[in-house]
């Protein structure tokens, strides 16, 4: 927020092996995307009249939004709660969130049948306020703007006094510099509004993603339909925020050859059991209240998914993170964080196309190769852009200053 961040662009070799793999995925994914644009959804996906929503909604849209929650949760901790100790993780989390939401939008463009009408919800004449998806769309749109605004100081910090456009465009150097300085001044004063707005907007649309499937009570498996669904989605999104921060911080450290920032991640991990605990208590409490625990042992795919995503991938990391040894060990912390992330990912997928049981389906839905390819391709692209950004902009904490912090 202030220009006194200890962040700097990372000096790395861009084209590592990993990057080449990511590029391969990106190209595959985008070619399937192109195929979808030319030949339609029917030839690229396994979507049917019975299963209108599939992998792209479950992963690209829903999980994308949930896993980008690290942005507002770390902003909440660092700025609203003023825990300056965690300042260093805010920018990377913010970048993840910004790119995450951008790619939610991009992913959506491939899933929508009439993607060229994606701007329609902005017109008041097309506002349909009863629709949950309307609220999701509007909040995500506004939040994306807020994220870009929140990220602007990183850009201004990098380029103020250093604007150097090549050749003919150097005419614009000074005006751009003045614009950036102007923005920097204003943003410095009003950023708190956007930070708070970001948290509010996040709460709104994270929960509304949960309200989406409340509209089909008769088609959802009882384990996954509840009027408290918005609360579950919100709680799990908040709970997965810090694991995401931990996850990407450790991967970034590994990739850039730095040591893991355990002095920040371990105290951060201390919050996770509380957040996960709230989610677990809510979910189990709702199950007991509604009596849906009878479905836990029926052996159906939905009950098994519940055991997997909730049992293995949410309760077990919760128990793990209660231990300070786990929290202080890089390896264990990473495992726990990864489990949380996959738990939420599987939870979103289950809600949208596994626990969703259309009344006349001949066979269950399983994503096509094109769907997997595009999803993985978009994730790979996101990671690549992340890498580009951190090597150009001051996002990651500067390594030499680490000795100063305790």
């Amino acid at each position: 927020m202030s220009s006194r961040e200890n962040a700097a662009p990372v000096k790395i070799r861009f084209f590592t092996t990993g990057v080449k793999v990511l590029i391969a995925f990106m190209i595959t994914g985008l070619s399937f995307g192109l195929y979808r644009m030319v030949f339609g959804l029917g030839s690229t996906t396994n979507l049917t009249d019975q299963y209108p929503w599939g992998l792209w909604i479950g992963v690209d849209v829903a999980s994308g939004v949930a896993l980008a929650a690290g942005g507002f949760t770390s902003a909440f901790l660092a700025h609203i709660f003023h825990r300056e100790h965690f300042h260093a993780i805010v920018r990377p989390a913010l970048l993840t969130a910004m790119l995450g939401y951008t790619f939610v939008g991009i992913g959506l463009m491939f899933d929508l049948g009439r993607w060229y009408n994606i701007w329609h919800p902005m017109l008041p004449m097309m506002w349909q306020g009863n629709s949950v998806l309307f609220e999701v769309g509007m909040c995500v749109m506004v939040y994306l703007t807020v994220l870009y605004i929140e990220f602007l100081p990183v850009v201004t910090e990098r380029f103020i006094g250093k604007v150097n456009l090549p050749g003919m465009l150097s005419f614009f150097n000074k005006p751009i510099d003045r614009l950036l300085t102007f923005l920097d001044n204003i943003l410095g004063k009003v950023m708190f509004v956007f930070v708070i707005a970001g948290v509010v907007l996040s709460c709104l649309h994270q929960s509304s993603l949960g309200t989406l499937m409340v509209i089909s009570p008769y088609k959802m498996h009882p384990l996954y339909w509840s009027l408290l669904s918005p609360l579950f989605f919100l709680a799990s999104a908040i709970a997965v925020g810090y694991p995401m921060v931990i996850f990407e911080s450790m991967i970034a450290s590994k990739s850039f050859g730095h040591k893991s920032e355990m002095h920040i991640l371990t105290p951060l991990a201390k919050f996770i059991p509380y957040l996960l605990g709230i989610y677990i208590v809510l979910k189990i409490g709702d199950m007991i209240y509604r009596g849906t625990y009878v479905y836990l042992f029926e052996g159906s795919i939905q009950s098994r998914m519940f055991w997997l995503e909730f049992g293995t991938l949410t309760v077990v990391p919760f128990l793990m993170l209660l231990s300070s040894r786990v929290r202080s060990s890089a390896g264990w912390l990473f495992s726990a964080a990864t489990m949380c992330i996959f738990g939420v990912l599987l939870n979103r997928c289950t809600v949208f196309f596994i626990a969703y049981r259309p009344p006349f389906a001949e066979k269950a839905y399983f994503p096509a190769i094109g769907e997997f390819a595009l999803t993985i391709g978009l994730i790979a692209t996101l990671m690549l852009i992340y890498r580009v950004f951190v090597s150009i902009l001051p996002v990651m904490p500067a390594p030499e200053k680490e000795a100063v912090r305790e």
Binding site: R114, L133, Y218, F360
Partner: protein
């Protein structure tokens, strides 16, 4: 943070102003259920249907934008052997069901959009491409549609079909109640008129309920004493009479609560005059203010930096 108490209070006042403005924003059409007093409906008496599929043919003919199908398609009785559902090129289908009371006399049932009184699809549609007309029909406007397919996920009867094979201009496809061509002028839809057995009765929904009840009373041995769609999901415009239990003819056992009654209270509660989000905003703002570390030194350092710029 570079703001002082005065500015903060100004900002708080500003948000209060937005709240007042929010009071007047009404994007919710609350009247959509009550104004349907004169809406139309159809009773489908499945005990009369012989499976001739004239209704399917008439539907195909009256909807000019559907691919024309040859007459042989409707003559082919082997199509009835497999259970079909509506698709992007057929708004209505007739299915055959085995009659356990008499295996020589199967039961035929016509399926199409139920044109619910409180429709899930209309509530779900993000841009309002699906609307409930005052005469009961649920209309689709492809111009507004963005192709998100939430209406398909929401419909309890799984009615809307999608043109997945259309790359550029895919539409949601479902029965239109012949709104443009017939029902907006008070005439019966094409399928109702084409049926030789007069399986379907068209009229005002509230009168049809009376007719159906009388019919059940007159022939208690013929019908299950239940008019499907009278109350299901808050009522549907297309209602069914049957001699077999409705689960056996592919009518799911649905409750009487309409799907929007689950989601709309949640949405309305959250956005009532925008109070909950604004309250949250204020609470967070308060937290941010009061939890600010009150270290004088750092404040002066910040002021120094600000003056430096």
């Amino acid at each position: 943070m570079g703001i002082n108490r005065r500015d903060f209070i100004k900002l708080l006042a500003g948000t209060g102003g937005i709240a007042l403005f929010g009071k007047n924003v009404n994007v919710w059409a609350d009247e959509h259920v009550t104004s349907l007093h004169e809406s139309f409906g159809v009773i489908v008496d499945t005990t009369l249907c012989v499976g001739c599929r004239s209704c399917e043919k008439a539907c195909n003919q009256i909807n000019q934008d559907l691919p024309r199908k040859a007459s042989e398609f409707y003559k082919d009785n082997s199509m009835l052997e497999k259970r079909r559902r509506m698709a992007a090129d057929s708004y209505t289908v007739v299915n055959r069901y085995n009659n356990p009371e008499d295996t020589n006399r199967p039961v035929y049932v016509k399926f199409q959009c139920m044109h619910c009184t409180d429709p899930a699809c209309v509530s779900a549609c993000i841009v309002g491409a699906l609307t409930k007309e005052s005469n009961g029909a649920i209309r689709y406007d492809p111009w507004k549609c963005i192709g998100c397919r939430y209406c398909m996920a929401a419909c309890p009867f799984q009615v809307p079909a999608y043109e997945y094979n259309n790359a550029m201009t895919p539409q949601v496809r479902k029965c239109t109640f012949c709104f443009e061509q017939r029902t907006s002028k008070g005439k019966a839809p094409a399928c109702v008129q084409a049926c030789p057995m007069e399986v379907m009765t068209f009229g005002k929904r509230r009168e049809l309920i009376k007719i159906a009840k009388r019919r059940i009373e007159k022939h208690p041995d013929r019908y299950i004493p239940h008019l499907y769609g009278e109350h299901e999901l808050g009522g549907t415009s297309w209602m069914y009479l049957s001699s077999l239990p409705f689960e056996e003819i592919d009518f799911p056992n649905l409750g009487y609560i309409s799907p929007p009654s689950y989601t709309e209270p949640i949405q309305h509660a959250i956005f009532k005059h925008f109070i909950p989000p604004l309250t949250l905003f204020a609470v967070l703002g308060g937290l941010m203010w009061f939890l600010k570390p009150k270290v004088v030194k750092s404040e002066s350092v910040l002021e120094e930096e600000n003056s430096e710029k």
